[in-house]
């Protein structure tokens, strides 16, 4: 067990990479996967064989994390799939502009103004109402493969 360092060395400097290869058999339900170039969340995995004495293959049903579109793919279990690097960052909400953009406070004190309000109705209402009531809102921004979107909301302050 001497060369463990070597095996478990993480690609800490490969931060630029947007996706990582991972064996199809290890991707589980609720994990992420790239299908047809889109980052998706897996909602269903089933396995079958290619003929009785063939090898196992995985059948994925997944949902695009940004557009909520359903996508499917079949991959041999031993092959690699691309898994997107999904990042979540929390920002405090400063302002909502009239054209549907939000203004967020970053960790280093500057602002981030390039994000739109989410399209999901429930989330949208929560944000707008909370903001109107003057609550301190923290939004969680999900980013993957060069796209970003607000995907969750946390209310930290009192009314």
């Amino acid at each position: 067990m001497s060369d463990e360092e070597h095996h478990f060395e993480s690609k800490a400097d490969a931060g630029a990479s947007k996706t990582y290869p991972q064996q199809a058999g290890t991707i589980r339900k609720n994990g992420y996967i790239v299908i047809k170039g889109r980052p998706c969340k897996v909602v269903e995995v089933s396995t079958s064989k290619t003929g009785k004495h063939g090898h196992a293959k995985c059948h994925f049903v997944a949902i695009d994390i940004f557009t909520s579109k359903k996508l499917e793919d079949i991959v041999p279990s031993s092959h690699n799939c691309d898994v997107p690097h999904v990042n979540r960052t929390d920002y405090q909400l400063i302002d909502i502009s009239e054209d549907g953009f939000v203004s967020l406070l970053t960790d280093n004190g500057s602002t981030k103004d390039d994000l739109r309000l989410p399209t999901d109705d429930a989330l949208l209402t929560q944000i707008k109402e909370g903001f109107a009531e003057g609550k301190d809102l923290v939004v969680s921004v999900m980013s993957a493969m060069g796209e970003e979107q607000i995907n969750a909301l946390k209310d930290i302050g009192p009314k």
Partner: protein, 1168 residues
């Protein structure tokens, strides 16, 4: 209704009839059915509608109206029976009888059936009221009809009346009459004792008389209808649940041969075959009268007429006759005299002589069926064989046919079955063919026979001829299975789900094949060996030339069959070598010639070839490997290094058989192949190397790896004798090394990695010294903990942690640590503690970093929970302090991330937040319960308080932290609800004193959940809440009595500075509980625990209680109710000498008081 006739107005009867007819017509046409139904209901509910209904039945031209009228009589008569005069009752029954006799030719048969069944029901309803003479009168009328003196139609009607009567008196088919069970039971016994045999002989005569005319006629004649009804009734009577059956089960006088050990041995049967056991008084009717002979002759005569018009193999008459014959095969019990089974043998022989004609010669019969003949006769023949097997022992079963033929019944059974399998081979793809049904029945027959051999305990075996029959059969079975396998080899597994479902069915089938093989073990094992080596040879010869798939699939089935034949499943126990194998090979001394060893050896040798990469890629497909691993797992449980005890047990078992000397050897022969010696170690080594290769060389084959991890490896490390050798093997060290260092093992399914970690940890106990065990665990885990520590201390952790490869790695390592933690044992406790201790900080860091990755969070919580569970009771005070502090920080961190978070995700399909949270919280509650257990069981050398740890404090703090996360929505998950409330009630019962230290918000939250729990649907949850309330209130009451503060500020009502009134918690609970008890629906089993909670509450909050009671009394407007309620409240707190102490006796008194109070007032409080 004779007495009313005079008064009755004909015109009015006519009018009623018309109204009913109109209503019936409307219902049929579906015009305004509600109104039509109302008309019928009004007549049904009116007082004594009998005359009108009888008028309708006799005069209406409309069959449906007559039918409805009969229904109305039934309804009204059952309702008013107790009020009717004796002659009215009698009149109703005789009306029915007369009507059906008089109108026997009525074209609308269903009206006759309805009236006949009405008559039967009324007769039963009055069965205990009518005098014997009255009943006699009814029966004479029926008997005359059945005898045929009034013609065939009346005869038929008479028989169908009896059919209704018998089914009405049989408890399983009787109709509801609103009478107690005892009534039905009395009727049943009375009919059986006084009439049943008589009824049987009437129909017997009726059938006998018409049968002559049927055999003489050469076309369809009306007698057929009567005859098949008579046969049907006889069958029905024989199916009756005879009293003497129960008596017979207790006293097996003189008939041991026939009923010995049957009851338990029949558990495997899929085809129910009810035994017919009438008492000895039936002997003259069923046996001595030549009844069976007549029946067989009659059927033989019928068979000759199948070519005539109106007769065929499946005509109702033939079907009933065959059914009755099969039924007679199951006749057993006290009906036969105690002549050591002689008479029963004669009876069965007679039947068998008739039945064999249906099946012989098997090949011709099978050919005839293939060319279009109906299979029902053959199937009935199979059923008859099953019945015969059920009532006889295997020896007698076989002997039966020998007096008729040069061979025994077993040979016939085997011959028929071979034909069946041949047919299955030609069209195995179709489901539900006659042959598959016949196969199932005949397999059951074998099981019934062979299980009896098994249960009898002696070294009985089948007669020699039977053994060779079983051998032939097994050969055909294997042939057909192999053929099916090779033909299905190229089928694509599209119906994967369907196959999963049929696995159990297949397993059951294979077990019965194994029973047959073991009956002829001497030829079965060599056969399997031969087939196996043929397949392997074919594989090698065709290598690179032909597609091996068919052979692979054949090997797959062969491995499954062989596994079943050689070893039993164990079901958690250690299975022994099957006794057929042991006793049959008792004389084989040399290991090389022991057939079982040869077979096992060749399979293991074949499996070993999978280690060669080239051979592996050409032959060992994942599916074949699954069978190999399955076989090795099953085989090694029985044969590999059997533990000392079972070896001893074996020889002591054989001592009983006076064959000690001889039998020592076979065990030894088997033992020297795979016992605890060098050869055994070689086999073990091969198995381990094969396991490693399935884990490493079959990437992505989850099913195969699951079999390897859960069945094979788990099975091996379960046995002490194996693990001591395991840890000395290089191959095991290779496995541990691969686990630690091979990247490919990280691609295994996470659950498999956990299982593998657990397996490796368990094996540590096989090391010679505790030090080496601990050292082994350390070397197994150090790389994982080191990596986690290193990763968690990286500066850029936040950036890299979200990378998919890092997430995967972290989750795999956590799963592995969890697997190690689950294998905690005293011997390796220290190393596992160190492992957990070293990752405490990383765990907290990851909990922070991965707060949005619910999967990782859950794994972290599960790891900590499992680790604490395995460790807590062994920890020393200082260690406990560290663990507890860690757990508190974990809880706080988790809570901080999750409180106040409105989780809204993008779309509904992504919304799993609730389920995630639920799983997390369950893990946390589990963690708290595990911590609690430290107070109950503690192996530490000094009390934990020495380091300032107070478990109650800890758990309360924990509860304080997670209580706000437990929302009523989450409590809808039953498991979470249950674990939450059991923890809560445990805490309040054991440490109520801590409550006062909780903040107002935390306490009111707990109270809120308690209140929610009180109104829960689940009785158990409510009960737990009531226990918690009791604990709270009684603590407060006792503490106050002792001059202490009790629940402190929580228990006082006050007005806050804003003028809002804050009610004391106890009075809130009192109000809520009273509301529940008086006005809501709850299970009565809760009243006792509610009383236990209510008493201390009342004692604590006397004034609130008084106010509540008087409010409730004031609310009653009805003076009677008000009076009763006042009295009820009065006696609730005063009767039974209730005092104001909280001791056991007082609790009991209050329980009684509350029960009677509730009984008294609940009803009227609910009406208002």
């Amino acid at each position: 209704m004779a007495m009313n006739t005079g008064a009755a107005d004909l015109a009015q009867l006519q009018a009623t009839m018309q109204a009913i007819e109109v209503a019936c017509h409307a219902m049929q046409m579906h015009v305004n059915p509600a109104a039509a139904e109302a008309t019928i209901v009004s007549l049904r509910e009116s007082r004594r509608p009998y005359q009108a209904c009888q008028f309708i039945i006799e005069n209406s031209q409309m069959a449906n109206a007559r039918f409805q009228a009969a229904g109305i009589i039934r309804h009204a008569a059952l309702r008013e029976w107790g009020l009717l005069e004796a002659d009215v009752r009698r009149g109703l029954v005789s009306f029915c009888l007369c009507f059906i006799m008089k109108h026997a030719t009525l074209p609308d048969g269903y009206v006759l059936v309805k009236v006949a069944s009405l008559g039967a029901q009324l007769l039963k309803r009055g069965w205990l009221d009518f005098t014997a003479a009255e009943k006699e009168a009814f029966f004479i009328q029926v008997k005359q009809a059945v005898s045929g003196v009034h013609g065939l139609d009346v005869q038929f009607v008479g028989i169908s009346f009896l059919e209704s009567l018998v089914s009405e008196f049989s408890p399983t088919t009787s109709s509801a009459m609103g009478r107690p069970r005892e009534f039905h039971e009395q009727c049943r016994i009375s009919l059986e004792q006084d009439y049943m045999k008589g009824l049987y002989s009437w129909v017997q005569h009726a059938a006998f008389n018409v049968s002559n005319r049927i055999t003489e006629a050469d076309s369809e004649i009306p007698e057929i209808k009567v005859c098949s009804a008579a046969l049907h009734l006889m069958l029905q009577i024989l199916n009756w649940d005879f009293q003497s059956k129960k008596a017979g089960e207790n006293s097996k006088r003189g008939l041991d041969v026939f009923c010995d050990g049957k009851q338990e041995s029949n558990s495997l049967r899929r085809f129910e075959c009810t035994l017919v056991q009438p008492g000895p008084e039936w002997r003259d009717v069923l046996i001595s009268s030549g009844h069976v002979g007549w029946l067989l002759n009659f059927y033989t005569a019928l068979r000759k007429k199948f070519s005539c018009e109106g007769y065929w193999l499946d005509c109702p008459l033939a079907v009933s006759a065959r059914k009755l014959i099969v039924q007679f095969c199951t006749l057993t019990g006290a009906i036969f005299p105690s002549d050591s089974g002689h008479m029963q043998r004669q009876h069965l022989l007679q039947l068998l002589a008739g039945i064999v004609q249906w099946m012989e010669p098997p090949d011709a019969v099978s050919d005839a069926i293939k060319s279009g003949k109906s299979e029902s006769e053959l199937l009935d023949g199979c059923r008859a064989l099953l019945s015969l097997a059920t009532v006889t022992s295997p020896l007698i079963f076989d002997e039966l046919l020998k007096s008729l033929r040069p061979y025994g019944t077993l040979t016939l059974l085997s011959a028929v079955m071979c034909e069946v399998f041949k047919d299955l081979m030609t069209n195995h793809t179709e489901e539900d063919t006659w042959s598959s049904e016949a196969r199932d029945i005949l397999l059951d027959t074998w099981i019934v026979l062979l299980m009896q051999l098994d249960a009898s305990g002696h070294n009985h075996s089948l007669p020699a001829e039977g053994i060779s029959a079983a051998a032939d059969l097994f050969a055909v079975i294997v042939e057909s299975e192999l053929k099916a396998a090779s033909e299905s080899a190229f089928n694509d597994d599209d119906e994967h789900d369907y196959l999963q479902a049929s696995v159990t069915a297949m397993d059951e089938r294979l077990s019965s094949y194994a029973l047959i093989a073991r009956a002829a073990i001497g030829s079965a094992i060599p056969l399997l060996t031969k087939l196996f080596s043929e397949r392997i040879m074919r594989l090698h010869q065709g290598r690179g030339i032909s597609n091996p798939t068919e052979t692979l699939e054949e090997l797959y089935s062969l491995l499954l069959i062989t596994g079943h034949v050689l070893a039993d499943e164990g079901q958690g126990e250690t299975p022994l070598v099957p006794k057929e194998i042991k006793s049959h090979y008792a004389n084989v001394l040399e290991m090389d010639k022991h057939p079982v060893i040869m077979l096992s050896g060749s399979i293991i040798k074949f499996a070993e070839q999978s280690l060669d990469p080239v051979v592996r890629t050409s032959f060992f497909s994942p599916r074949l490997m699954e069978a190999v691993v399955w076989f090795l797992a099953r085989w090694s449980l029985t044969y590999l290094m059997p533990s000392e005890e079972s070896v001893e047990h074996r020889s002591s078992y054989e001592n009983c058989n006076d064959a000690l000397l001889r039998s020592k050897h076979p065990t030894n022969a088997l033992f020297s192949f795979s016992g605890e010696n060098d050869r055994g170690k070689i086999v073990l080594d091969i198995i381990i190397r094969i396991s490693l290769s399935t884990l490493v060389s079959y990437p992505g084959e989850k099913d195969l790896q699951a079999l390897t991890c859960y069945q094979l490896l788990h099975g091996l490390v379960k046995r002490k004798s194996i693990i001591t050798h395991l840890v000395t093997l290089d191959s095991w060290r290779d496995l541990a090394n691969a686990f630690a260092n091979e990247r490919v093992i990280l691609s295994l399914n996470a659950a498999h990695q956990r299982s593998l970690a657990q397996t490796l940890t368990v094996s540590a106990c096989g090391m010679k010294t505790p030090e080496s065990s601990n050292e082994y665990i350390r070397s197994l885990t150090s790389h994982m903990t080191a990596y986690l520590v290193e990763l968690s201390s990286k500066n850029d952790l936040k950036a890299i942690a979200q990378q998919p490869d890092i997430i995967l790695l972290v989750s795999c390592l956590l799963e592995r640590l969890r697997g190690v933690a689950r294998a905690s044992e005293p011997r390796v406790q220290n190393a596992i503690y160190q492992m957990g201790f070293s990752v405490m900080n990383p765990v907290l860091t990851f909990l922070q970093t991965y707060k949005d990755e619910s999967v990782v969070v859950y794994l972290l919580l599960k790891f900590v929970t499992d680790w604490v569970e395995g460790q807590i009771i062994y920890l020393e005070a200082q260690e406990t302090a560290a663990v507890v502090e860690f757990c508190m920080r974990l809880l706080q961190l988790y809570s901080a991330h999750n409180i106040g978070k409105i989780s809204v995700s993008l779309s509904n399909s992504l919304r799993t937040a609730d389920a995630d949270k639920y799983k997390d919280l369950r893990a946390l509650l589990q963690l708290l319960s595990n911590l609690c257990s430290k107070d109950l069981v503690d192996f530490a050398s000094e009390p934990i308080e020495a380091y300032g740890t107070n478990i109650s404090q800890v758990v309360y703090t924990g509860l304080h932290i997670i209580a706000p996360l437990i929302t009523p929505e989450l409590l809808k998950y039953p498991k979470l609800c249950h674990s939450y409330f059991s923890l809560l009630s445990h805490l309040l019962e054991v440490y109520p004193e801590i409550i006062e230290q909780l903040s107002v918000e935390a306490f009111s939250h707990i109270l809120g959940t308690l209140d929610f729990g009180l109104h829960h649907q689940d009785v158990e949850a409510v009960d737990l809440c009531l226990r918690a309330v009791k604990a709270l209130a009684s603590h407060h009451y006792k503490d106050r009595g002792a001059g202490k503060i009790g629940l402190g500020s929580h228990a006082t009502s006050y007005n806050d500075p804003n003028g809002n009134f804050h009610e004391s918690v106890l009075s809130r609970l009192l109000r809520s509980l009273m509301q529940l008890l008086l006005f809501e629906d709850y299970s009565t089993e809760l009243v006792s625990s509610a009383a236990d909670a209510l008493l201390p509450l009342i004692l604590c909050e006397q004034s609130v209680y008084q106010k509540l009671a008087s409010e409730l009394i004031e609310r009653q407007t009805n003076p009677v109710f008000r009076f009763r309620l006042r009295n009820g409240f009065q006696s609730l707190t005063t009767s039974n000498n209730l005092s104001s102490t909280l001791d056991r006796i007082n609790y009991q008194r209050f329980r009684k008081n509350l029960h009677s109070f509730i009984e008294d007032v609940w009803g009227f409080l609910h009406i208002v």
